[in-house]
Symmetry: C2
Subunit: 463 residues, 2 copies
């Protein structure tokens, strides 16, 4: 007899924890993901700002699940779900394939939203993927290098201004880290610019930073950002983004901020596949494209399809939609796995999904964070210590290796920005620098063996 | 009065050590390099095979020289040298500039050579730059992933065959590391393939691996490679490379090896800029394009221009040309700096450059290496220990941070391949996978939040 087949779409927090929770279940799990790694997204900003390497926040899925025999990890992009035939259509590299399911856990996650202005993406990259983080790393570090080469003071200022759109945890953490870079790491390393003079501007349409953390921590975070030298522009809407600057609508009226480097940390939306799944099942979606699910996280009329994580629209105990955070994804993924196990054991009508809010954490700068845990509000060093312990604890669970934990401990505690390397493709093929110079024009023409090597490789990029 | 101006072209081993050796000299140094980092090239193969992150082998030049006030580090590609006006023309990102010199240290390094078959580059990347290493990392790890998705046994075999061209230290180390990956790291992580069945083929036109290490170590290395499961094809010339395989001329005749993944570690040549400098100065070049220099490493008739490192053609004590290795570059860079200091002190006619051969090291596998030091020949664990100590010692000198050394120690001693992350651009824009699938065709269509995030960013790549 064939075993119950569970297909999980996506190996983010929701999909990965669902797979892990099925470890001892008598099922065959197929876990489909578009990359070979799970991404620990809350630390992605540390990759963008040179603290961690991409490998430290993105362990291979196979490595995490290597001792779990009932999971088949497959690389590919799910193109469609046939809810009648109960199959998913997958495009893999060089091969398309179909996987049948008895239960489907849909955990495809959210993508960056530019609120209808997708044209902003080219000049203000988001912070959702490793590609995004490495591109931002290239933009941020090269901005200082290029500023150092400029002769016109206006050009210097443009290259040394960094605008971060969105003052949630990701935007706040990015602003804090760029400020630390400018004021603590880089000073003394340039001859023609003073990194201290960098402008870091954090913009948000609402009236507070870390809005969801409550007034007390929001005020504390704002004060700390000011101490770090970050300009915070609240009640400010972005109306235009181009290679050389950003246009905003502030309480003072319309203004322009000349800035070569922009970061978009403002919003998320559902990928097109979520819309297709909703159409196929007749499910409703909310404004952000999330799928409205039953209290047991399944699609109405489709008890075999679970939607977990960012794509799940479900009210919490307070009546408000559960937020798109890692803890909701982890808990809903585990819950869906539990429901499948319960059904196979002949039990039905399990209790509905209840989200247990373990709290929120955001790092402002090194050794300083804000934490909201139950009724507890913490800030400064104690909050940072909690952040450190929580993250090390989770990361250990993923990587399971003493060496990895040592790596992290060293990276978190050290002052260095040792991960500053950017590839020529990231710098010149995808950034604002694409219009400048032309390192690929004369293969092998560079200065230094590294540039020469890259030059020699450049025929490949133009193919 | 203006200080003596030294321009150094390239921040590889030659240029960087020249700059460091000028630390206490009464000169203004301008160090021009095409990337922001110095590349520790002997460890680049560890980036390609997932052991080290790119940041661990490529410290920022500014960071290394942060305490040296007389150096101005500038990003840019040297386009030309005007030997009459004594200026170098540089193309930087968004700005072109000219730098005048009183002394020029030309340390632009070598680029990959395909011996006239530049078309091989697209399908058999070299190992000269961080871009190369990350591209190879993407090709190697994705080869296993894609093999796992194939249904035709011939396709599986093609994806699981790895051909490394060139059995010098880089090629031998790559072959050893891919074999360890296939036989020690990856087994048990796939459901449809057995990584043990991977074929790793090391090809060279000469009759021995690690030819320059002498018969004894060469034989020992060959035996170890066989034990690791590497097929070694000596006296074998590559006559064709295409996406799906490689054609070779062996002692048995012409053969084809179906293989999706090829690595080129076979040869180096001088960049075009070296030829232009030779023409401008009337200097002779050897077959590889290296510039024939005086015993004091200067160009004949141009005592103000030093050529050091890979681009310097100079016979050693045994009458043979000095090899293009890190030690020659370091020592000649320091020597050139010393000559400049001596001249400024009014001393002339210093003794000619003499290379002191500290020995050669190559790692075959974890805990096993070969070492040739003076008359000493070592192999196995003792040689590996020497390798470890030598590399940690040098790396400490570059990065100067306890945390960096801890990082390395952990990486070298650990069994993990924690740096397996590849970006979508590296996988799909630049590799053999470019013809397969089309992850960018439907933005936001991927499986999993990471793929979705990357999908959302894809409009940028098509611009």
């Amino acid at each position: 007899m064939n075993r119950h087949r569970v297909v999980i779409v996506g190996a983010g927090f929701g999909g990965l924890f669902a797979a892990k929770a099925l470890r001892r279940a008598d099922v065959d799990v197929t876990l489909i993901n578009g990359t070979t790694y799970h991404l620990f997204q809350p630390l992605l900003y540390q990759v963008a700002t040179g603290i961690l390497s991409e490998g430290e926040v993105a362990p291979p899925i196979r490595e995490i699940l290597r001792r779990q025999d009932n999971v088949d990890v497959r690389l590919g992009w799910v193109r469609d779900v046939d809810v009648e035939a109960r199959t998913v259509e997958v495009a893999g590299p060089g091969v398309s394939y179909t996987v049948g399911y008895d239960s489907l856990i849909f955990a495809a996650g959210s993508s960056q939203s530019y609120f209808g202005n997708d044209g902003f993406a080219a000049d203000a990259p988001g912070m959702k993927s490793v590609d995004d983080a490495l591109e931002l790393r290239a933009r941020i570090f090269h901005a200082f290098e290029i500023a150092d080469l400029q002769t016109d003071p206006a050009d210097v200022e443009r290259w040394m201004t960094f605008v971060i759109v969105g003052a949630g945890p990701t935007g706040t953490e990015m602003a804090g880290q760029i400020a630390e870079l400018a004021h603590r790491t880089l000073p003394g390393q340039y001859r023609h610019i003073d990194p201290h003079r960098a402008r870091i501007v954090l913009v948000d349409a609402v009236g507070a930073v870390l809005n969801t953390f409550g007034d007390q921590l929001s005020t504390r975070a704002l004060r700390e950002l000011h101490q770090l030298g970050v300009e915070v522009e609240l009640n400010t809407t972005v109306v235009g983004v181009d290679p050389e600057g950003i246009d905003v609508e502030t309480v003072r009226g319309r203004e322009r901020i000349p800035a070569m480097t922009k970061v978009w940390a403002a919003g998320v939306s559902a990928p097109p596949l979520a819309r297709r799944l909703a159409e196929a099942t007749g499910a409703s979606t909310d404004r952000a494209g999330r799928i409205l699910v039953e209290p047991d996280t399944t699609i109405p009329g489709h008890p075999e399809i679970f939607v977990v994580g960012d794509l799940m629209a479900l009210p919490g105990r307070d009546g408000r939609q559960l937020p798109g955070v890692a803890q909701v994804a982890i808990q809903s993924g585990r819950y869906a796995a539990g429901q499948i196990r319960a059904r196979l054991a002949g039990r039905t009508a399990e209790r509905p999904f209840r989200y247990f809010d373990k709290g929120s954490l955001a790092v402002i700068s090194r050794f300083s964070a804000v934490a909201s845990i139950g009724r507890l509000r913490l800030s400064g060093f104690p909050a940072w210590l909690i952040w450190l312990v929580v993250h090390l604890f989770y990361l250990v669970g993923f990587k399971n290796r003493v060496s990895a934990v040592l790596h992290w401990a060293v990276s978190f505690l050290g002052r260095g920005r040792s991960e500053r390397v950017t590839t020529l493709q990231q710098v010149y093929a995808r950034t604002a620098m694409r219009d400048f110079g032309d390192p690929f024009a004369h293969p092998g023409d560079g200065a230094g063996s590294t540039a020469v090597g890259a030059g020699a490789g450049s025929p490949r990029t133009s193919r």
